[in-house]
C-alpha cells in the first residue's frame, strides 16, 4: 500500500494541487530542502516565464513609458534611471535584500540567512534535494528569488517618474539603494512573509498594490516635494516629446503584468488563470474610464489618457487579482480610471506639486483604490479568503506613513550631503548631454 500511496502522492504533486501540503505533514515555515521530485515542471515553466515578463515591464516597458513623456533633451537620462536601477537592485537583492524580505524573522524584518543567496542549492546537492521557499513549494527557490527580484526592481524604478528631469544621477543611485533596503524590504516582509505583522493581521495584497504601488507612489510624492518643481514649470512647454514610446511602454507593462499578477499565484493553476482574467478586465475598464472622463471634460480622448488609464487599472487590480472575479475587476477598473484621472489632472494642479510623470497620482492613488476595494470584493467562494476594508486600511496607512517618512528622511540626508538636484544650466541644457554626454537625433 505504501508504494501505492507514494505513487498517488507523486502523481498528485505532479499536478501541483495547491493544497498538496494538507495531505502531508505541516507546511514548512522557512526555506527548506525538498526532493527534486516535488518540483512541478509546469509551475516552474510558468514562473520562469513570469519572471521574464516582469523584468520586461521594467526594461524596456517602464523605461519607455516614462521616456516618451519627458522632453527630448531628457529621454536618455530617463531610460538610464530605470536601467541602472535594474542593475543595482539586482546586486542588492543578492547581497541581502531577498533575505531581509522573504526569510522568517521579526514582524518587521526577515533574517540574514539568505545573504548572497547563501544556501540556494539545486538538484546536484548529494541527496538529490533542492532548496524551495516556504512561500512557493512547487518551484525551485532560485526561481522564486528571481521572480521576487523583478518586483524589487520595478518598485524603485516607478518612483523615478515623480522627479524626472532634475535629479542628479549619482544622488538617484544612492537614494534608490537606501530606499530598496530600508523601505522596500521591510514593507515586503511585513505584508508578504508569514512572520510579518501585516501579513499576520490579515492584510490582503495579492501582487503588490501596497508593497509596490502605494509604496513607490508615496516615495514619489516625498521626492518631488523635497526636490521642488522643474525649472520653468507652468511657463515653458513640457509636452511629452514622443508618445509612441509611451504607448509601447504601456503595452509592454500590460503584457508583462500578466507575469506580475498571474505569476503571483506561484503556480500554473486556476487561480493564476482567474488573476489574469481579472487583470485584463480591470485594465480595459480603467483605460476606457480615463479616456471617457477626459473626452467629456476636455473634449478629446488622448493617447496619453488611455495609456495612463490602463496603467491605473493595472495598479488597482494588482492587490485584488487573486481574490476577485472578472466582474469585480471591471468595477475596480472603472473606479480606478476615474479617480486616478482626477488625481493626475486636477488634484495635482490644485495642490501644485510637480509630480512630473504622476508616480503618486497613478501608483499611490490607484494602489489605495485597489487595496480598499480588495477588502470589498474579496470573497471566500472565489479565493478562499474574505476581505475586510478596515484591515486593508491598516495596511495602507502603515505603508503611507512609514514610506513617506523614511523616504523623506533619506532624501533630506542626501540633499544635505552630496546634493540632490542638478545645476540650473545642466537642467536647461538637458540631462542627456549634461549628465551622460549623449543625445538623440
Amino acid at each position: 500500500m505504501s508504494t501505492l500511496f507514494r505513487l498517488a502522492f507523486l502523481a498528485v504533486l505532479a499536478l501541483s494541487v495547491p493544497t498538496a501540503w494538507a495531505d502531508d505533514a505541516a507546511a514548512p515555515t522557512a526555506p527548506v530542502l525538498l526532493g527534486v521530485d516535488k518540483i512541478s515542471a509546469g509551475d516552474t515553466a510558468w514562473m520562469l516565464t513570469s519572471t521574464a515578463l516582469v523584468l520586461m515591464m521594467s526594461i524596456p516597458g517602464l523605461a519607455l513609458f516614462y521616456g516618451g513623456m519627458v522632453r527630448k533633451k531628457n529621454v536618455l537620462a530617463t531610460l538610464m534611471q530605470t536601467f541602472a536601477i535594474t542593475c543595482m537592485v539586482t546586486l542588492l537583492w543578492w547581497l541581502i535584500g531577498y533575505s531581509l524580505a522573504f526569510t522568517p524573522g521579526s514582524p518587521f524584518l526577515g533574517g540574514t540567512s539568505r545573504a548572497f543567496f547563501n544556501g540556494m542549492t539545486f538538484m546536484h546537492d548529494p541527496a538529490n534535494k533542492m532548496s524551495v521557499s516556504h512561500l512557493a513549494l512547487t518551484i525551485p527557490e532560485t526561481v522564486y528569488a528571481m521572480f521576487q527580484m523583478t518586483f524589487a526592481i520595478i518598485t524603485p524604478a516607478l518612483i523615478a517618474g515623480a522627479f524626472a528631469d532634475r535629479m542628479k544621477f549619482s544622488a538617484m543611485l544612492v537614494f534608490m539603494a537606501a530606499w530598496s533596503l530600508l523601505v522596500y524590504a521591510p514593507i515586503a516582509h511585513m505584508v508578504w512573509e508569514p512572520t510579518g505583522w501585516l501579513s499576520k493581521a490579515g492584510v490582503l495584497d495579492y501582487a503588490g498594490g501596497t508593497v509596490v504601488h502605494i509604496n513607490a507612489g508615496i516615495a514619489g510624492l516625498a521626492s518631488c516635494l523635497v526636490l521642488g518643481k522643474r525649472l520653468g514649470y507652468g511657463r515653458e512647454q513640457m509636452a511629452p516629446h514622443n508618445l509612441t514610446l509611451t504607448l509601447i511602454g504601456a503595452s509592454l507593462l500590460w503584457v508583462g503584468w500578466f507575469g506580475f499578477n498571474a505569476g503571483s499565484a506561484g503556480a500554473a493553476d486556476g487561480r493564476a488563470g482567474m488573476a489574469m482574467l481579472a487583470t485584463q478586465m480591470a485594465t480595459a475598464a480603467a483605460a476606457l474610464a480615463w479616456m471617457c472622463s477626459e473626452w467629456v471634460s476636455r473634449g478629446k480622448p488622448s493617447v496619453l489618457g488611455i495609456a495612463s488609464g490602463a496603467v491605473a487599472g493595472l495598479v488597482a487590480i494588482t492587490p485584488a487579482s487573486g481574490f476577485v472575479g472578472p466582474t469585480a475587476g471591471v468595477i475596480i477598473g472603472i473606479v480606478a480610471g476615474i479617480v486616478c484621472f482626477i488625481a493626475a489632472t486636477s488634484l495635482k494642479h490644485a495642490l501644485g506639486y510637480d509630480d512630473s510623470l504622476d508616480a503618486f497620482g497613478v501608483h499611490c492613488v490607484g494602489g489605495i483604490v485597489g487595496a480598499l476595494l480588495t477588502g470589498v470584493f474579496a470573497s471566500k467562494e472565489i479565493s478562499g479568503s474574505d476581505g475586510s476594508v478596515l484591515i486593508q486600511l491598516q495596511g495602507v496607512a502603515v505603508t503611507l506613513v512609514y514610506g513617506f517618512a523614511a523616504s523623506f528622511v533619506i532624501l533630506k540626508i542626501i540633499d544635505k550631503t552630496i546634493g540632490l538636484r542638478v545645476a540650473e544650466e545642466q537642467e536647461r541644457e538637458g540631462l542627456d548631454i549634461s549628465l551622460h554626454g549623449e543625445s538623440i537625433e
Partner: protein, 112 residues
C-alpha cells in the same frame, strides 16, 4: 538680381514649384519654418496641463532670379499659393549683390 523669399502653407509647396518652373525657374531652396501671425496655432492637453502651440508650420522658399523675371515669379507664387484663408503667408523680395555657382564659378545671372 533679386532673391524672392516666400512663406507659404506646406501643402502648397508642390503647386508653387510647378507654377514657378512654368515661368522658367529651375532652382529653389526650401526650409521648414514656424510661423507666428494672424493665423492661430492649436492647443494640446496632457494630463490636464494645457500647452498652447502658438506657431503654425510653414514652408519658406527662396528663389534667386534675374530682375527680368521678378514680377512673373511673384505673380506665379501669389496665384499658386493663395487659398484666401488667413495664413497664406508673405512674399519678400531682396536685392542680391552677387551670385556664384560653386560648381563652375560662374557669376551673377549666368550662375542662377
Amino acid at each position: 538680381m533679386k532673391l524672392i523669399t516666400a512663406i507659404i502653407k506646406p501643402f502648397k509647396l508642390d503647386d508653387v514649384r510647378q507654377a514657378i518652373s512654368d515661368v522658367g525657374v529651375q532652382g529653389v531652396t526650401v526650409t521648414e519654418v514656424r510661423g507666428f501671425g494672424r493665423q492661430r496655432g492649436h492647443t494640446e492637453i496632457y494630463r490636464g496641463a494645457e500647452y498652447v502651440v502658438e506657431f503654425v508650420p510653414k514652408t519658406k522658399i527662396e528663389i534667386a532670379v534675374d530682375n527680368a523675371l521678378v514680377d512673373q515669379v511673384i505673380e506665379a507664387i501669389f496665384k499658386s499659393a493663395q487659398t484666401g484663408k488667413v495664413g497664406d503667408g508673405k512674399i519678400f523680395v531682396f536685392d542680391l549683390a552677387q551670385v556664384v555657382r560653386i560648381r563652375t564659378g560662374e557669376r551673377d545671372s549666368s550662375a542662377i
